[in-house]
Symmetry: C2
Subunit: 210 residues, 2 copies
DNA sequence: TGATAAAGTGAATATTAATTCATATTATCT
DNA sequence: AGATAATATGAATTAATATTCACTTTATCA
């Protein structure tokens, strides 16, 4: 043999993958998943169409990757908010406070993220990627579920099925945000976002409190 | 001139339109909007592809029509439940009771409607039709909003933005039902539907109550 | 430098589904 | 029956993308 992959080639491979990943994320953030075509990605990344297929099995894989990458940071941030790490147990706020804060952060980030958040939460995409969205929403539900359960155990919240409550919270958040998100995504700045988030917060709080 | 539309031809026209409408609704109820193509509709209705275009402007129009027809009865039923007609004011149940009942009926019908309900509430479809779903959900939100507002005015519910609460309720319902709906739609009968609906009901009630 | 393997290319092809349109059929009226 | 108009037909066309693949370029190593 007379060819072996080396550190340099591996580095380039990683760089190319990152280039495609970044570009794809940009395209989605700018125009939603509709704007992400193999051709548009190739053009914007300045590579040939065929190159895409050296790095991703097919179009679906690109979408899935973008979805995961786009949502990972969101989920992480929200989780950190619900269950702050590096805080001594005695300094940990009560569940009610953390739930409020988590809802606020979720909403505000969604509203600030414009098109990307809309794409992740609500934009219609093809069924193969839809499975990813389900996971995305479930990841959130999982976080809320743990928080609600902790609240129930500590007597802060009424006894309830924390899975259902968590799913309902995610649904309530998504549904109330979709309208405003669509408007914000289209550039018509909207006032009253603070009030909106307050209303949602109050609604969810009341739903789970004792 | 030597041709004039007559009652007979008009009747046939209506019959044909109904045939296409029924067939399209059947296809969606059976396989979701994905299964509804111009070709599949033509085949199942036993007409030529071109015929579809004599009755509908384009594919979108077919989808929109199916969506409206499919949802009309649902919305009507739910509305009747929230605001029963032909009941003397003094016999009208309180808002809390009506809200509970409305949520129960909404959920149960969705769960019983299998694939159609899933298609209307959650199945990803193309953007043109998506606008219709937004209207569909808003129709529900409108009903809940009126009911919540009435409850607030009567002091049964806490003071709140009834639009936000209503939207949140619709979101909570849709989100909690999608999972079970998908499972029911695939034939894996699910137990615990009653409990699920009870949990959702309790959640929403707690959220709006004083 | 020549052999080997991987990465890159993009025109050609495949896919999927909507839409059109020249033609045929059917209904109506005198 | 003949004239007229609406309705029906479905093969052919269009459209929008995804996917392939024969070929070129680049990198590695003996």
């Amino acid at each position: 043999m007379a060819y072996r992959p080396t550190e340099k080639t591996e580095a380039r491979k990683r760089a190319q993958h990152k280039l495609l990943s970044d570009t794809a994320l940009n395209i989605v953030a700018r125009g939603g998943f509709n704007a992400l075509t193999v051709a548009s990605l190739a053009e914007e990344a300045k590579v040939a169409i065929g190159t895409i297929y050296k790095y991703f099995k097919d179009k679906s894989a690109v979408c899935t990757h973008v979805f995961q990458r786009g949502s990972a940071r969101e989920v992480e941030t929200v989780e950190q908010c619900a269950f702050p790490e590096g805080v001594r147990p005695e300094d940990m706020a009560d569940c009610r406070t953390r739930l409020e804060e988590t809802i606020r952060v979720f909403s505000m980030r969604a509203l600030a993220g414009h098109k990307l958040a809309y794409a992740l939460i609500a934009e219609p995409i093809d069924p193969m990627v839809e499975a990813e969205r389900l996971k995305y929403r479930q990841a959130y539900a999982e976080i809320f579920s743990r928080l609600v359960q902790e609240g129930v155990d500590k007597g802060e919240f009424r006894p309830q099925d924390s899975r259902v409550a968590a799913t309902a919270i995610v649904g309530a958040l998504a549904e109330t945000l979709v309208g405003p998100l669509a408007r914000v995504a289209e550039g018509q700045e909207d006032i009253g976002l603070e009030e909106l988030v307050d209303s949602i917060k109050t609604f969810c709080l009341a739903a789970v409190l004792a």
